[in-house]
Symmetry: C2
Subunit: 428 residues, 2 copies
């Protein structure tokens, strides 16, 4: 097994801070930490909250067993008082946050963690790791889904990212509207539809291409996808239809000028009577490559590297900041980043038609209520107990609705401002 107990997926300074705070009596001070992004990466117009569904389970299981405490003691990282505190650790505070699948913008308080300083500070790394990774993938994937204009996209990037990230990436891509994944663990763990038929190696293994196609059809039936670009694509398509007949489900093209190849392949398939045979394209697909194929006779996309690496933005840039201590707002001063202290409340304002117009965030207060406002934060954990664990399909539907609600400019792939303005009202 390739796994770690969640409690050690932590930066050492969290435990040294707990250690010092236990000693000086500040460990129990009531605190509020917030997760937000200072900016969106590279002109993106929105971010997508993802990972909450995975995170709540990890927080529930965040305990320091004797093995972990033993390591920390032996390494001299914590003293015995802290070790005793860690043995008893169990998060007993509250977590509120944006729904999984919700959009976020610079400053959106997507997660608010409140409790004692010590119990909240030790969750920093785990919360950020999960949300930064999954949100980065979902944010990139959502743009691909928009670019695909309703055509299904298969996530097939497992090989391009860490083996466990791959499973989370498949989840985040599905949340964002991908149709399926090649990753079997994601199918087993999250019930995501899985797909996959064959690689070039399968054709190369056989004495010739027709032999490979015949073998695949014999094993998987005609409702399969034959990969036709191992040698010559036109000949590959002829071989595919000769072997499978005109009711073959699909052919896949993984290389070359996909725009031209899709057109030629469609014409050839039609001329062979295979008018219902789909064309799947893959190979270096990102949101721009997908958009560029919008007018071509492509039926399905396979996306790999770009989606699992966040298409240029592999991390969402989320931070976890202490904003309130014993009811008073706190903020780091020496930065020229406009951070506002205090617990925030956020609403999204909409036109009567349902189109979002603005996000209003108020520190230590509540925005004036207007009709069509939507309160963005909801309880996730209360007094240490999970209130609501997001279900993947609900998060997926939530995002779909959110993307319908933003102004159409917000869906453009080009670099620009956030889809809606964000107003943060600070404490006086």
């Amino acid at each position: 097994m390739n796994s770690f107990a969640p409690a050690l997926l932590t930066d050492q300074y969290e435990l040294t801070m707990v250690s010092a705070a236990l000693k000086d009596g500040t460990a129990g001070r009531p605190c509020v930490f917030e997760v937000f992004a200072r900016r969106l990466p590279g002109g993106r117009r929105y971010g997508v909250v993802a990972g909450t569904g995975r995170l709540v389970e990890l927080i529930r299981d965040f305990r320091f067993s004797e093995a972990e405490v033993g390591f920390l003691r032996e390494a001299g990282i914590v003293d015995e008082t802290t070790a005793a505190w860690l043995r008893d650790y169990r998060f007993s505070g509250d977590i509120d946050g944006y729904a999984e699948g919700e959009l976020f913008f610079p400053g959106s308080p997507i997660m608010t963690v409140s409790g004692t300083f010590a119990e909240c500070v030790v969750l920093e790394t785990l919360i950020l790791s999960v949300l930064n990774h999954d949100s980065a993938i979902a944010s990139a994937a959502a743009r691909m889904v928009t670019a695909a204009r309703g055509r299904p996209i298969i996530e097939m990037g497992s090989r391009r990212t860490h083996e466990d990230s791959a499973v989370a990436a498949a989840r985040a891509a599905y949340l964002a509207g991908f149709a399926s994944t090649s990753n079997l663990a994601a199918g087993a763990r999250y019930g995501i539809p899985t797909t996959g038929t064959s690689a070039h190696a399968f054709t190369l293994l056989h004495d010739d291409e027709p032999a490979a196609f015949a073998s695949q059809v014999a094993a998987l039936g005609k409702n399969t996808t034959l990969l036709v670009d191992t040698y010559d694509i036109a000949q590959g398509i002829r071989n595919a239809i000769a072997v499978a007949g005109p009711d073959l489900r699909a052919v896949r093209i993984d290389s070359g000028d996909l725009s031209v190849l899709a057109q030629h392949s469609r014409e050839l398939l039609d001329s062979l009577g295979a008018t219902e045979t789909k064309i799947v394209v893959s190979g270096d697909m990102d949101e721009y490559a997908i958009a560029a194929l919008a007018a071509e006779p492509v039926d399905m996309y396979g996306a790999g590297t770009a989606v699992v690496t966040g298409s240029g933005a592999p991390t969402a840039g989320l931070v976890y900041k202490l904003v309130e201590v014993e009811g008073r707002p706190v903020v780091k001063r020496s930065e020229n980043k406009a951070t506002v202290g205090g617990r925030k409340t956020a609403v999204r304002r909409h036109k009567p038609t349902g189109t979002a117009t603005e996000e209003i965030i108020v520190s230590q207060g509540v925005p004036d209520h207007e009709p069509n406002d939507r309160l963005l934060q909801r309880p996730i954990v209360a007094a240490g107990e999970i209130v609501e664990q997001p279900a993947l399909r609900e998060s997926r539907e939530h995002l779909r609705q959110c993307l319908i609600s933003i102004p159409w400019e917000g869906l453009k792939l080009s670099a620009g401002d956030p889809a809606i303005p964000v107003t943060i009202v600070g404490v006086p």
Copy 2:
């Protein structure tokens, strides 16, 4: 636990290929697969092989338990013949490869997997996930180490990547020469030195900065690092020395114009008699930011986002290709990528001084032997048994030696050609 059995960290098409190959009798054909990169990302001059140490354990544990086979059967992904084959699965072939910590260039056959088609093809995703991730991190980290010119670098990027990737990233960064990590699981799992003291939250928690510093020194002693940029840096340094005295180990600055701040901080520390107090800088450190601080009085760097995301290249671009079937070389033809079929043998050629001059790769043969040639491939797994599991510290030392051996131009950060030319001699 946040873990998956290695066998499901797999793309579905590997199992459908096995299924078809079992049916048509080709599953047992002796095959050779190779891992290589077609190019280095964005003008990089070398790549670093990393992940082998993790991979051999995962391959050893790559078995399909009843739970996994049950999922595959229920989901209709494999038939009963394939299920039976999976239940008995155990890799019994050979794996040869470049040493962990070795440099690689376009076309370098960094791993060669041989055995039956079926037993080799199911390892594709796992091998690529591990090597692509870890090599991407190590390749970026090595450039940072070069840029730091002997000053230590702390890896502190866990929060910016998937929680399990974070542990592997800490390992890869240490392999590349980083001094330590903030990640506790990496300390526990791989024995990497861990470090960490406090965040801005710790200062904000307290009534004022001197109270926070006093608490930290009381808990951790003077051999600690005080974070001085929560409010005003100059005042922070005065507070730090007032509290800890001039034999404070270090101060850390995490924001602002680090070049100017390092100079001012050094002058101020010296004027306060703290001439031995070190200056640690962190915040958006990549290889270029580190290089830009070479002339400044910085003693240590903290690197986060850039290292765990591969500094612009989050995946190493490694592919796993079938190159030989029953002794005959095979190659996908329709691509304009110059791929050469056949099992390759690679040597690195050196001047008598030890400087590398060229990498020679021969398909289905062995390069002419010259004095100072170094054979790059070594046995990793033989007949399914681990021959040699790379030890992290040895891999680290191996890389250090390799970086000494390449021409100095190869260490430049600017975009350029690979550090040494690669000659691939194909079959006629």
